[in-house]
Subunit: 324 residues, 2 copies
């Protein structure tokens, strides 16, 4: 029996998960920790390395992992294995994280943007399994994305491709953390849904959410489901802007499938018709009719499963610049 495995990790905003994954995608064992909010880069590296080591040590037969794929919510230089820009963990910026972890753990390490990793995960084991050309979008705190083109993950010249959340949908729109204005992330993320409700309430809008001091996008969804007009309109706005951005991608990439995941995808029934009608109204008729919209199926596992796949792929096609 083949006991070989890779390590796969996902460094999220809240949790940090490391798992041992078989070549067929089974999770053999996993450990989780809280993502540090403070501390130096050494603290973060230490935590990742300790969790990874515990996953290695837990192997009864003493087998070493074939490789280690790590997904991060950050702009990554895939080929060099460096973190370019990590909004949640800025202490990792400009760090050759792949090399540092490789030396520490004595295993080849591959870094991947978390949304690109999720796109790979969904292509390997989830909703886009049978599509050679698909776009993955995740609607969470921000809007992330990943591209599967002609049967391969597409990363661009340095590995930063797939930043679908920063497609401009309002040239003079809401300021975005990326430095631009009117990015689709400012209209279609879970964060944006809450902000837009707040803006409407501040302008005297009447909503069942008016009395609450804090609420989440899930609360907006529940209010909309209970008939709150303002909340329903916000999901219409969200769907419209997401539809504009996806229309761009339908015309530019002619994908067979767009997979939508992330927390705010839970409001699917309230926004998807608006997304679809925007695509049908804006994109060319043939690629618009061709593209299917589907929900992601792997949930929060998509990222580390995609990282596992990237780790496996790196065995066949070594990543330039990875340390081992």
């Amino acid at each position: 029996m083949d006991n070989s495995y890779v390590l796969a990790g996902d460094v999220g905003g809240t949790n940090l998960r490391i798992a041992a994954v078989s070549e067929s995608g089974s999770v053999l064992r996993q450990v989780t920790g809280a993502t540090p909010k403070t501390g130096t880069s050494a603290d973060v590296i230490d935590l990742i390395a300790r969790l990874a080591q515990s996953c290695i040590d837990a192997d009864d037969t003493g087998l070493r992992p074939l490789s280690f794929g790590l997904a991060l919510a950050a702009l990554i230089n895939f080929r060099e294995g460096t973190v370019l820009s990590s909004p949640n963990l800025p202490q990792l910026n400009d760090l050759a994280l792949s090399e540092v972890l490789s030396e520490r753990l004595q295993v080849n390490v591959v870094l991947e943007n978390d949304a690109t990793a999720a796109a790979v995960g969904e292509y390997w084991l989830g909703s886009s399994k049978h599509s050679e050309n698909s776009v993955f979008v995740t609607l969470g705190t921000g809007v992330g994305g990943g591209l599967i083109l002609d049967g391969r993950v597409y990363r661009g010249i340095d590995g930063t491709a797939g930043e679908i959340g920063h497609i401009c949908v309002e040239p003079d729109g809401h300021a975005c953390g990326c430095g631009s204005r009117g990015c689709v992330e400012q209209y279609a993320s879970a964060t944006a849904v809450v902000r837009i409700v707040r803006e409407i309430l501040a302008n005297g809008g009447v909503s069942s959410l008016a009395g609450k001091t804090t609420f989440s996008s899930k609360d907006v969804y529940d209010a909309a489901a209970s008939g709150d007009i303002v909340s329903r309109e916000v999901f219409k706005t969200m769907g419209r802007y997401l539809g504009i951005a996806l229309s761009d991608l339908v015309d530019v990439l002619n994908p067979e499938l767009i997979v939508i995941g992330g927390g705010a995808a839970g409001a699917w029934d309230l926004f998807i018709d608006h997304v679809r009608s925007e695509i049908d109204a804006r994109a060319f008729r043939h690629p618009a009719a061709r593209v299917k919209l589907a929900r992601a199926s792997l949930g929060e596992s998509a990222g580390f499963l995609g990282a596992a796949r990237a780790a496996l792929d790196s065995l066949k096609e070594p990543v330039r610049g990875s340390a081992m």
Copy 2:
């Protein structure tokens, strides 16, 4: 000596050109005709076939072409070899043009969108020769585009990919022929430049172009070069909107190079700084710093040279659905 050749054609809005091209990209001989403005699909097919046949007959040694690549200003189903939507020659819509021409000429025929063909041409012999990841944009009557991703032309699931001209830059903007609103084509094409000047003049704008009943984008360029403020502002608007669309692509595709061609690219010095500053302001810092902007180098030959390359490639990797 190897005398083998492919046929390559480019059906433009005005001219129709067919050439015999060697495997190294030399144009051995070519014939041109006027693109028919009226007539049935049979008339258009007849003209293409006659020009192609004359290119075949002109071979002294009686050698047959290896393949025939034909670029058209149309949405193409590359794999099936059908014309999906041809704004200039609507009589070709829904026609299995590849099959019809294959039977008539007894040679394998590959159809390609003209801007995608130009992207391939520039990658084979022009400005993007050394870039594995590049975006090609052509600024003419409309705005077309083509993608070279990871060293290969990217066509999408059916072959309609690359429609960069229909990236939305103003969600409620100027109506576009494609059915959408605010496409970058409505702000950055040669046609758009003239329209925007007209709009400004209609609103009482003071310009040296005010007295003219008809003028071209070249006239607007000349006026701007002579200090006409309105004309200079129009190229600023053009550069801004083109920059917004290209920023989307920098974030989504992380290209090494963006090649800009087409007639309106002649106004390069008047718009390119605005394009660059928009990319620097909007796209992520790393991919923005990485991407170079360059002018196309093959001019009007890019399309049929790219069609020749597609014809050559089809010999190694047969296109599903092509008739022979």
